[in-house]
Every structure is written in structure tokens, then in C-alpha cells.
Amino acid sequence: MSLNTIGYLFKDSFHGMKKDFKNTLISLGTMFATMLLIAVAYLVYMNENKLINDTKDRSSNIVAYVNIDVTDEQAKQIGYKIEEIRGVTSNTYRDKDYAIELAKSMNPIMVEGFSDEILKTIYPAYYVITFDDVTMIDVITHELGKITEIEDVSVNQYAAAKARDAEIYKAVAIVAVIYIIEFSVFLMMNTTKLMMYSKRKEISIMKYVGAKNNFIRAPFAIQGVLTAIVSVGLTMLVINVAYPAFIRSMTTLESGFSFIAFGSLFKELALLLVVIGVLIGIVGSSASMKKYLDV
């Protein structure tokens, strides 16, 4: 295809959009709605991920207290059993002396007047167990309970509950994102189909004149791409205003969660929308006009 032809096709696309302004507006509106929904879905998903990671940081350890009668040597052996539990990434042994010193530093009044020998019958040795996947908390706790030398297991219950909630939110967010994208693409494809239906006569005329399929497709595909780019621009403008306003309103509610700043997501989101938009524009128009090309 010569440069002159490409130039003509671009000119023809602009002319077509201008001439068929009503359909251009419909297409632009649908694409804008599609892009906006995808952008919202993306922001929800990213913040959800951040929430999970934040929760993970706060609840990423379990404390397993060793039975008070277990000797130091026996207690160290428990570490091997803990290591084998699925989901555990590390375990650190703290002996009774460490526990007593910690108690003295944190709450000196409680231990005042007691000798170390007595304190050793009160403060047990313990393991600090870390893990990456918060959903494994219940599994690890259950497995620790099976070790006879371990008397008690302490988990940050609030953080664990938050982690479980976050997992549910994430699952809901993923399902919502999939539905939003599916709905958006469906919306866009149908709008394109309607547009192509209105152009079917024009397409058949082009075929009778001897136009090849790519020559016919090109202006529609270019229109699709231009519509996508304009829609992405509009979406980014709206998000740029609405998202910070949303964050401000949520902060006043003291949710305790800090949302991702829009600036750090701008480039990534714009790129994602351009790619999706251009794909919908090209694939949507090409797929929708396929049956009208068979003349």
C-alpha cells in the first residue's frame, strides 16, 4: 500500500467520521463508557491488591509457644517440624531467657520481685513463624496444633480476619473486573455491528468497484483506533479528577487504608486503555464487517 493510499485512507476516515457525526458520537460514547468501566475495574483491582499486601505485612507472623516443661534442646528440635509445614517461610527460636528479657523490657512491673528461676516457669520459649500467603494462616495454625511440644499458638486475629476479608474482596473484584470487561467488549462489539450494518450497502458498493477487503476495512479500522484514542484521553481526564476526589472522600471516613496515588498508575493505565481500545477498535470493526465483505 503506497503512502499516498495510506494518506487517502486516513483522510477518508476523518471525512467519514465528520460526515457520519451521529454514529461517530454513539461510537465515541460507547467506547468512552467501555474505557471508563475498564479504568474503574483496574483501579479497584490495583487498590485491592495493595490492601492485601498491606494486610499481609501486618499479619505475617505466628507465635508458637513451647510447652514450659520442654527442655531447651528438645525445643530446638521442634524447629525442624515447623520447617516442614506447608506455607511456612521461616521460623526463629526464642528461648526462655529471651522471653524473660523481653518481658522485663516491655513490662518491668509485672516481673518485679520474681527470680529468673521462677520466671522460667512462667515465660515459655517460643517460635516466631513467618509466611507469605495469608490464606495459609489457618492451615499453619492447625498443623502447629498437632505438634505436642507446642502448648499455644498466637495469631494476630484482627489481621488474619482482614487478610481473609481481603481475599474475598479480591475474588469479588476479579469477578467484577471480568464481567465489566466482558460487558464493555460486548457493548462495543454490538455498537460496531450496528454501525457496520448501516454501512453494509456502502461496503457492497466498494466490493463491486473492485476494492480489496483490506482497502475497505482500513478506514473503519482507523476510525476505530481514532475513537479509542479520543475515548482514552477523555477517560484519563475524568479519572484524573474523579479518583483523587474519591480518595479524599474515603480518607475523611477514616478507613485506615491509603489508596494508590493516581500519578503512579497514570502511565500504566493509559497504556492499558490504549492497547485494549485499539484492539477493540480494530478487531471489533473487522469482525463485525466480515459478513458484509462476502459479496
Binding site: 500500500m1 466490493k207 473492485g210
Partner: protein, 256 residues
């Protein structure tokens, strides 16, 4: 130039639109295909432009068996012919100039050639002064002239017109037929499917009459006679026995 060899077309509904038709159209000829509605003449035209595939037989245009060419090559076939329809089929968002130029654009013609050729053709059809008009600003006859200009702008070897005067009043129809005759005189083979028997009679060209999907007669139209019972044109000069090899005009052109 154009040869139908034992062509049959049976549609999926079971209707046999064309039944074992064989005919030969010489280069530079002007041929009318006539017959009542549903006789199969439009199917013959559609098969020439490869809009409809025959069920059996072969069609040769410029020596190429078009029944065997792939879908991908259909645009190339259509570029070698001009097509005119009853309903004009113009692009309504393009001006007269753009509609005609479009046929050159699709073959990626040199822009300089487009600028030169389009006004020439518009001048030929008498629409140079309306180059910037849109189709909906033109009369039916003018729209058909634009369609004809678009059909001939690439200098096709053959011009196929399916009921080109069907939507026009008698005077305008005659103007369009005269224009087609002019184009034929410049060397383009013209095949016209029509109902307009009065014009067919006046034009005194070869007439292929189709009835029930078969060629009923193939004669030169001089002294037009209409059989009102069948809607078939009868005339004294009979060419139905001629083939590619004994066609008198081809012999004359070959100097035989």
C-alpha cells in the same frame, strides 16, 4: 471476450434460474439480454461479476475461466469490468468527483492520473459542472450517469449494466442508453440486461432473449417484434447458431 459454456444455476431453494446456457459475446459488441422478470437474466449478469456462482459450466472473460478463480481474486476481476446497477449504488457521503475517483483509488492509481482522468470522464457523461455535488443533490438520470462514469473511469474492457434504466423515465432512459452506446463506440464491450423493449428496438443491437433460464433467441434487433405472450423479442437476424469460431464480427475484426 465473454463466453458462457453450458452454464446452469440452481439456487439452494431448488429453483433452476439458468439452464444449460451457452453464448459468446465478441470484443466490442453491444448486447442486450432481455426477458421477463425471473427469466434468469439477472442471474446471468451476477454470474459475470461473480456475485453468484454457477452450479455447473464455465464462464470465460478475456480467456480466464472466472468460475475457477478464488474469492481473493474477485476484486481483480471486477476491476477489469465496469458495473452499473438499476439503483445506481453510489456512495452518498462522497461527492460526484469522489465517487468516480473512488474506483481509481481502489486500484491505487497515481493521484495525478486521477486528477486528469476523473474530469475527463465526468465531461463525457456531462456532469463536470456537478463534480462537487453529492448524489442526493442529483436527479435519477444524473445519478446513473455518475455510476456510468465510475464504471468506465478505469477504461474497463467490458461494461455490465443490470437494468440501468429501470428507475428512470423514458427520456432519461434513452439518454442513458445513448451514453452506453457512445461508450461502446469507443471500444468497450457493453452487456445490458433490460426490460425496455422500445429502446432495444431503436438501438438495433444484438439481443439475447432469455426464457425460463434458457436462451430463447439470439438475434440482431432490427424490426422489433414483441411476443406479448412470452415477453420475448423476435427479430429476423438470427445469431443463435454462432459460436466463438464462426462469429461474423470476430471474423471481420480478424480480417477473415
Amino acid at each position: 471476450m465473454i463466453e458462457f459454456r453450458n452454464i446452469t444455476k440452481v439456487y439452494s431453494t431448488g429453483i433452476a434460474a439458468v439452464n444449460k446456457v451457452s453464448l459468446f459475446i465478441e470484443k466490442g459488441e453491444f448486447v442486450f439480454i432481455v426477458g421477463s422478470s425471473g427469466c434468469g437474466k439477472s442471474t446471468l449478469m451476477k454470474m459475470m461479476m461473480k456475485e453468484v456462482e454457477p452450479s455447473s459450466g464455465h464462464i470465460f472473460i478475456n480467456g480466464i475461466d472466472i468460475t475457477r478463480i478464488s474469492k481473493r481474486r474477485i476484486p481483480n476481476l471486477r476491476r477489469s469490468m465496469g458495473i452499473v446497477f438499476q439503483d445506481f449504488r453510489l456512495l452518498f457521503d462522497k461527492t460526484v468527483y469522489e465517487n468516480v475517483a473512488y474506483a481509481m483509488r481502489v486500484i491505487e492509481a497515481d493521484p495525478k492520473l486521477i486528477k486528469k482522468q476523473v474530469p475527463n470522464v465526468l465531461s463525457l457523461v456531462g456532469l463536470l459542472d456537478k463534480a462537487d455535488f453529492y448524489p442526493d443533490q442529483l436527479s435519477g438520470g444524473e445519478q446513473q450517469r455518475v455510476a456510468i462514469a465510475r464504471a468506465i473511469v478505469n477504461n474497463p474492457a467490458v461494461l455490465i449494466a443490470d437494468e440501468p434504466t429501470g428507475n428512470l423515465d423514458p427520456d432519461t432512459a434513452w439518454e442513458i442508453m445513448s451514453l452506453l452506446s457512445d461508450i461502446n463506440r469507443r471500444g468497450t464491450t457493453v452487456v445490458v440486461a433490460t426490460h425496455a423493449k422500445d429502446i432495444v428496438d431503436k438501438m438495433q443491437k444484438r439481443v439475447i432473449a432469455v426464457k425460463n433460464g434458457s436462451v430463447y433467441s439470439d438475434k440482431e434487433s432490427s424490426g422489433y417484434v414483441e411476443d406479448h405472450g412470452t415477453g420475448i423479442v423476435e427479430n429476423p437476424k438470427d445469431y443463435s447458431h454462432l459460436t466463438k469460431h464462426n462469429f461474423p464480427w470476430s471474423r471481420r475484426k480478424a480480417g477473415v
